[in-house]
Each structure stands twice: as structure tokens, then as C-alpha cells.
């Protein structure tokens, strides 16, 4: 690669002193330095892991003159997210003391419950209601659970007054 063709024109003249052959070795060390410098730069500035995303479709805001679709209340599982990673679950319309159950984010609490709901009822539905003090991570992990358990119908909706009262009782006294 780095050989240099010398001579060519002086074949016949034997007595001519030969030009001193220069070494064709090039010191590559600075080039290696440079190459590795660039390499380090690109390695450090590059982003390999692309952020992932989950798609969320929010329920459309009902227009004033349309009827809100009626759902069988027994098929609705309400999950109320509270601060400090607490979840309160109940089925039905009102969170009365005897139906509310506290869950956590572990695999055999929330996920078990979700699978149970799905198995028991074909038209089951999950409503996620996050309190203002719940963290964003809670909401994301709830959506993630919905994906993992392959819930067909779920929605993120606003918390109502009954549930707010429930949270006050539960988190205030405990």
C-alpha cells in the first residue's frame, strides 16, 4: 500500500550511485490517536436506546346533546390511584366501605385482579382515576398493566367527589 516506486529511468547506467532508499514506514501512532479520539467522541455523543412510547387514546369529550353510553355497573372496575403508590379498587358505582379493596403494584395483587376480571366477564371495563397527588409513574405503570393483561376497554378519567372522600378517609386516618 505504501510502497513507492523508485527508479525506472536509470536501468542502463550502471555506474550511477543509487539514490538512498528511504524507509517507507510511516509512523502511524498520531493517526491512531486521532482515530481513537474521534471514536471516543462519537461513542459518547451517540444515543443508541431510542425512547419508547405507548399510545394513548383518551375518551372523547361528550358533546352536550349526545347520550352518554350506559354501562353495566357490575362490569366496571374502578382503580383509584393515590399518593405513595397506593391503589384502591372497587366494582360498581359508589366506593362504599365494604367494596373497596386496597391493591399494590406487585404482580400478584393488581395483575391478578385484572386477570380475574378479564376471565370472569367478557365485557369488563377498567376505569383509571388518578388523584392529583399520584405520580406520573403510577399512571404509566397502570397503562402498562392494561397492556400486559390485554384489557380491551379501559380509560383514564377524572376522579369524582365520592372517591376523593374515600381517599381522604383512607389516607388521612391511616
Amino acid at each position: 500500500m505504501s510502497e513507492v516506486q523508485t527508479g525506472g529511468g536509470d536501468k542502463g547506467k550502471g555506474g550511477k550511485p543509487k539514490a538512498k532508499k528511504m524507509s517507507t514506514h510511516i509512523d502511524m501512532t498520531p493517526m491512531v490517536d486521532l482515530a481513537f479520539l474521534l471514536l471516543t467522541f462519537f461513542m459518547l455523543t451517540t444515543t443508541f436506546s431510542k425512547p419508547k412510547t405507548m399510545e394513548i387514546a383518551m375518551p372523547e369529550k361528550p358533546k352536550d346533546n349526545t347520550d352518554v353510553p350506559q354501562v353495566n355497573e357490575k362490569k366496571v372496575l374502578n382503580l383509584v390511584l393515590a399518593e405513595n403508590n397506593r391503589i384502591f379498587a372497587y366494582v360498581g358505582l359508589k366506593p362504599t366501605e365494604d367494596v373497596v379493596e386496597e391493591l399494590n403494584y406487585s404482580e400478584n395483587s393488581l395483575r391478578k385482579k385484572l386477570f380475574e376480571r378479564l376471565r370472569g366477564d367478557s365485557g369488563s371495563m377498567v376505569l383509571i382515576k388518578a388523584d392529583d397527588k399520584a405520580s406520573y409513574a403510577n399512571v404509566v405503570s397502570l397503562f402498562d398493566e392494561m397492556n400486559i393483561t390485554k384489557q380491551k376497554r379501559y380509560a383514564l378519567i377524572d376522579i369524582n367527589d365520592d372517591e376523593k372522600k374515600l381517599l381522604k378517609e383512607k389516607t388521612g386516618t391511616n
Binding site: M28, T29, V32, T53, M58, K61, K133, S135, Y136, D144
Partner: protein, 198 residues
Amino acid sequence: MPHIKPKRNNPRLDMTPLVDLAFLLVTFFMLTTQFRPEEVVSVDMPSSTANIPLPDRNVVMLTVAKDGRIFMDLDGQKERAALLKRMGEEYKVSLTDAETALFGNLASWGVPMSSIKAYLNTPQSERKKFPQPGIPSDSSNNELSKWVLNARLVNPKVRLAIKGDRETPYEKVKKVIQTIQDKPMVNRFNLITNLKEK
């Protein structure tokens, strides 16, 4: 006393393969690299099992920091410049072409329209220290809604992505979701997460 000189071997190594290798890697990184976008505020994203990659183009990114400040980002220099121009007209902030062009090259922003001119005229070295209180999203002055609305007018293909910190109170995220559901009437959006290791 005569010393016996050990025969010195020339310690020179042939560096050529090393150079070949190094440049191969350099080329690889140069071609695959995507520069990490400059972050105005650091956000620790929650992780999930979702594995749809976020598209590179046509994304409006709404970052909700831990303290609830909202930052916005839109890709594409021309789109950003056009967006700022529209916003300037709407809020009666006169901006020169140079200023909108500069805006096209900046990172995500979180300044109200009233101080955007001052923000753009801050010298580059100082710009990082410019106080960014976040885009206002109160009901009295909802600039976020206008930003998103105009971004959709500038680039109709745009998708909305929300990037929240793990510890952001849901209240702040809810405000963003309500805003974009209310005014530009977007019901479909993306939540950006990290991939959870199993």
C-alpha cells in the same frame, strides 16, 4: 570493562491494522450517530413494557418536569421558525427573521411569550442560565394550547408526545392532557417511557 550489549530489537509495531480498525469504527459511529438533543431540564422517565419506538420526525414533545414546568419541542428548523412566527403574530411580539431562524436551531423551550424575545437575544453562553418558568397553561393565559394548535397548523402530520418525570404529580400531567384535549382537540397521543428490563 566491556559491556555485552544486548541486541536491541526495533520495538516498532505496525499500526496499520489498528488504524484500519479505528477508522472503521469511527465511520460506523459517524453514520449511525444521532446527537443527543440538548436537555434544558433533566427528566427521569418512567419505564414500561411498551416497545413502539418514538418516530424521529413530526413530533411535538411536551416535557413535564418534576416541578410541573412545561417545555415544548418540535423537530424541523423550518417548522419551528414558522411556528414562532405565527405565535409572534398572535401575541403581538415583533420578531425579526434572524430571531425566528435562531429559534429554529435551539433546544426545547419553556418561556412565556412575553419573555421569548429576551430569551432569544441572550448571548449563547448565557442562554442556559436564562430562567425558564415553563410554558403557561393556566386558564387565564393558556399559551400551551396556542403553541400546540399552531404547531399542528404548521405541520399537520405532527403527533403529540408527553414526556413526564417519574415523580411529576399527576395533577400537572392532567393539566397538559386536559389542555390538548380541550383546544386542539387531540385525543390520541403518546407517552414516552423507557424500556423496562425484565
